[in-house]
């Protein structure tokens, strides 16, 4: 497990964001320590984009506190220089070339590393002299990530960057990201639907559902804290009293529980099993995944 003494790069307390009638984010309290690669997971409309935009300073919170890299996100060159944000739409100037974008970055940033972008694009075979609008989605995403990294940010915020990419482009993108992380000094928050992709690169998890934070912590710790219990159909009041029940599936013969442990499970009638990231996430989202047959009725807890 990583040292828990790493300073927090992101810290929010009771953060909320309302748009006219819609609450996009409610009472969000999270912390991400330096060097983590955090997976921001949640169904559509859970508030992932809103959270990332508030962290980047592109949107202002309606309530609560947010501290990023030791200060409030703000329109200030010194702060912006340390943040890299890549929006879901991958906004680039369609009629400009990659080389133009490198030039733009060089003019708008101090400490700009244009060489790294050229090297990266050449190794991927992406032309530097063609209008960005003519590149494929994967190539544009690679270019955008390379440009974001060329700022040499300390915090990288990526909003579903691989959602529109084919599996090969996705793998290349994540390899590119992993390489940047391996260089050190970089903290990443990466939102996505694709759990399998995130599992490979992430060591921290923020789970959002219905505008609220359901889980936030190092994945290893979270997995160790949770357990799946499989046993006969019986009264589980005792277990629910000792531990926090996340999700339960009860059939005529069998009970399957996902719990957050507060110590060892005493009931010998239940077999315990370790929980995987996907089970954990889906359990919190209200659907128990895994080997349970699909015809079983799931009785989810109200989140």
């Amino acid at each position: 497990m990583m040292a828990s003494t790493d300073p927090d790069v992101i810290q929010t307390r009771g953060l909320s964001k309302r748009y006219r009638r819609v609450t996009a984010l409610s009472e969000a309290t999270i912390s991400v320590a330096e060097g983590r690669v955090s997976a921001l997971i949640g169904p559509n409309g859970a508030g992932k984009t809103t959270l990332l935009r508030v962290l980047a300073g592109l949107a202002r919170p309606s309530g609560g506190e947010v501290t990023v890299l030791g200060g409030t996100p703000r329109q200030d060159p010194a702060f912006l220089a340390r943040i890299g944000f890549l929006a879901q739409e991958i906004p680039l100037y369609r009629r400009c070339t990659a080389e133009d974008h490198i030039g733009i970055g060089a003019h708008l940033n101090s400490g700009w590393d244009g060489t790294s972008v050229r090297r990266r694009l050449e190794s991927l075979g992406i032309p530097l002299d063609r209008a960005v609008g003519t590149l494929s989605g994967g190539q544009r995403a690679q270019l955008a990530l390379a440009l974001t990294l060329a700022k040499r940010p300390q915090l990288l915020l990526l909003d579903e960057p691989v959602a529109a990419l084919d599996p090969l482009a996705r793998r290349q993108f994540l390899a590119h990201l992993a390489e940047a992380v391996a260089g050190g000094g970089l903290t990443v928050v990466l939102s996505s639907h694709l759990l399998a992709d995130l599992e490979r690169v992430c060591d921290h998890l923020i789970l959002l559902a219905a505008s609220r934070v359901q889980l936030c912590g190092d994945i290893e710790t979270l997995l160790a804290e949770h357990q799946v219990l499989v046993g006969p159909r019986k009264d589980t009041t005792a277990i629910e009293r000792d531990h926090t029940l996340v999700h339960a599936v009860r059939t005529a013969r069998q009970t399957t529980l996902l719990i957050r442990r507060s110590g060892p499970v005493a009931d010998p009638a239940f077999e315990t099993a370790d929980v995987g990231l996907e089970e954990l996430v889906l359990g919190y989202m209200g659907q128990l995944a895994g080997p349970a047959p699909a015809h079983l009725t799931a009785i989810g807890e109200d989140q």
Binding site: R53, A56, L58, A59, R60, Q75, D76, P77, A78, L80, A81, I83, G84, F85, A87, E89, P91, L92, Y93, R94, C96, D100, G103, I104, G105, H107, L108, N109, S110, T148, K151
Partner: protein, 334 residues
Amino acid sequence: MTWLVWRQHRNQAYVAAAALAAFAVLLLVTGRQMASQYRSALSSCAVSHTCGNLANTLSLGTPVLSLLVTLTVVVPCLLGVFWGGPLVARELETGTSQFAWMQSITRSRWLTVKAGWALLAAAAWGGAVSALVTWWSSPVNALNHQNFQPSQFDIQGIVPAGYAVFAVALGIAAGTLLRRTLPALAITIVVFTFLRLVIGQDVRQHYMTALTRTYKFLHHPVLPTGSYWRVSAGLVGPGGQIPGGQSHVAGLTLSMNGLPVSVSSLPSACRVLAFQGPVKFFACLTAHGYHGLFLTYQPASRYWAFQGIETGIFVLLAAALIAVTAIVITRRDA
């Protein structure tokens, strides 16, 4: 940031420069011809002592050319539509503003540089077109003394530069508030045209208190000299001034001693005498309590003061719009 602005908009700049150059060549060539035509007409009329009547006998330029020059009145609006409207709106639409705003640069600086260059370019292009038109029109102005009239006032001197700056600022503000290019263009055209009409027709004449001259019937009126602007003219009736012609009354107007009078405002008893010679007609008017004719005008000497005031108004409006834009850009969520 200037580098980015130039990279994004250099093609627009090239097109606009080419259009301006073509217009300049056309006006320089025809303007020289017109100037020499006017000079030779002046020297020949001096010989025959007919220069007092020159305005009625000489016509300068061609109708097509005059129409083209008159059409430069739309140049500021075009600049507002092509340069102002898309400047911010296009970036918000395509999301490229987010790319720019996540570089190490504040949004206020981003806007300042972008809008600054756009407004400067608007002033330069609006001013250049106007300078060409003003130079081209100088023989016509000397001949016809029409340059204080709205149709000429609006395309000469420094006001076109002020209009252009305002139109571009309006486009920028509309694009920022609406976040979409096409509606911003529509709003720019509508608001710009509306404001120009209101200021031109109802506000401009009050920049300074207009002067009034009154004339007795059957005396030849001594009109003001030079390029004065006739704000209003007509009869002085029993109840006061009755403006005629001059944009106030559509329909029939009857020119008396060079001043317009609307027939419909005359007492019906006199109306039938209108075309039966002046003596009977004016006797009838006098009998009905009419005192004479009046002319309300802005003297030619105020031309540049009016140009300055109008330019100032539009530049101030532009500044207010840019201030609103800056507040919205920096405060609103991206």
